[in-house]
Amino acid sequence: MADMIKGNVAIAEAAVRAGVQFYAGYPITPSTEIMEYLSGRLPELGRSFVQAESEVSGINMVMGAAACGFRALTASSGPGISLKQEGISCISDEELACVVINVVRYGNGLGTLYSSQCDYFRETRGGGNGDYRCIVLTPESIQEAVDLMAPAFELAEKYRIVTVFMTEGALGQMMEPCVLPDFIEPERHSWALNGKYTYKKIGIFDRNSMTEAVALNEKHALIKENEQRWESGHVEDADYVFVAYGLPGRSVKGAVKELRKEGHKVGFIRPITTWPFPENGFKEVNQNVKGFITVEASATGQLVDDVALTAKRVFRERNVPAWSLCCVYGVPSLKFTKDGFARIMNNELKEAY
């Protein structure tokens, strides 16, 4: 029998079991329990933990550990993740692998401590300067979070890319039972710096951005082709399909169940990877679908952009409208989604696209 466990603690233990050798970070609510837990747990296993002086420093320490071929992790939220962008961009540029956990909190600047999804654009677009993207995983439950931790590293290493593990304050702080994954002992990457110059990395001044651009596009195409993950339900005959991820995605599944009972032909797509965006999930949708509706914990609606762009690609000859129901922060209740649906049916809410 699985016991109640706090999201952040479960995520941290899952990282330990995925073979994390190094953690560096700086405390910020609602991510802090991850570093608190690892501060004891990693040294206990002979691995390394550093409380860095800032998020800037923390991500650069992660870069150093990752360059040496070990599984390295950092976690933060809001402005802390902003400070990490410099490092994330550099790690991406150097094609190193690491995992960055964003326990998203609401707001611009210092923001608030509320659980939210307001960092969707930043995480799915790369976030720092340059042309790179990160693979973005967005779990709906503590169980899914711990199950995604080893894949987060495997994907990062397979493609030599940063994986952003984007969860929400509420998921980090809540408890529910989960079965923790087994321990794995990853090997040091073959492309690691080991002091012996076995990996003949070229210096920045000898690089060729034109050839690298080709390789980058190929890599992104490969990731889009192979790594889309999503969960969907009732999409084949749906008039309206909800799209939501993380805890709102989980809540929306409950709303869809109730709306179906009430006779509405609705379905849902819950992206598990928000980059690559699960376009393939949209290909299974009823060809005559009347619209997509996102449910998101942001003020302005961000996910809806990807939904509209994807609808454009999948339903080329038709303009399928996309609405967004934004609860700003928190986890939207089933009622929120159902009320929003009613407003859309009554023409009280204008579509975003």
Partner: protein, 249 residues
């Protein structure tokens, strides 16, 4: 008669520093020390951003270009996961003491077991000679065209003395490249710093007063004289924190 010095095998490419630049001399000394300490197969360079980055093109060794100012943090991550590998940051004064002052100080504060080499040429060489925190009072730079106004911009500061005085570090020294005698001394400092790391004694820093003829607007000879006449009086040469075992020597 001068002894012939073999070019260390670690250096395989000519590096594109300006004529009379100090960087090349220091890199060569570092490479010599590495070989003499038998570390050539056990070395990683987290490299700063600046003319110091050019090291990346010249050495056949593991190296990583760090974000501007963050080399001490990158080095920390490297050292923590591979404690037996020798880690040397190679940074400029702008990199280590301006944008990276936090990372530099905090690595020293933790007494991180790494070696930091800072090339102090009292300006931002790579970007065309802007003022640095180490620019001297009244020094003309492209962002202090009338000479550095210390009242408004602060006084240049001495990093090795600072960490030697405030933090529990293993070794802190300043040298220069103006004469064979000074070069030999500098090499001793670098070697001590590396030995401190290899023995697990903790953080070591060697700052080098280095000419930047291009941005100082001087020819190479005059640039060396400038160091002797203007820089050394402000930035004394020597060891500010000696290794414990060497204290009596």
């Amino acid at each position: 008669m001068a002894k012939e010095r073999k070019v260390p095998a670690l250096i395989d490419n000519p590096m594109s520093f300006c004529a009379g630049c100090g960087h090349g001399i220091v890199i060569r000394l570092v490479a010599e020390c590495i070989e003499e300490l038998n570390q050539q197969d056990n070395i990683i360079f987290p490299i700063g951003v600046g003319c110091s980055s050019l090291l990346g093109g010249g050495m056949v060794a593991d190296r990583l270009h760090c974000p501007h100012g963050r080399a001490a943090s990158v080095a920390t991550g490297m050292k923590r996961v591979t404690p037996d590998t020798t880690i040397i940051t190679y940074q400029g004064d702008g990199d280590a003491y301006n944008i990276g002052i936090s990372e530099s100080l905090n690595a020293a504060y933790r007494n991180e077991n790494i070696t930091v080499i800072t090339i102090n040429n009292t300006n931002f060489g790579m970007t065309g000679g802007q003022m640095s925190w180490t620019s001297l009072p009244d020094q003309k730079t492209t962002t202090s065209p009338k000479g550095r106004d210390s009242g408004a911009t602060g006084l240049p500061f001495r990093f090795p003395e600072m960490v030697a005085g405030q933090f529990d570090v293993a070794y802190a020294a300043r040298g220069t490249v103006t004469s064979p005698k000074n070069v030999n001394k500098l090499k001793k400092y670098i070697k001590n710093g590396l030995e401190a790391q290899i023995n697990g004694e903790g953080y070591s820093i060697i700052e080098v007063l280095s000419p930047c003829p291009t941005n100082w607007g001087l020819n190479p000879v005059k640039a060396m004289e400038q160091i002797e006449e203007q820089l050394i009086p402000y930035y004394p040469l020597g060891v500010f924190k000696n290794r414990k075992e060497k204290q009596d020597a």
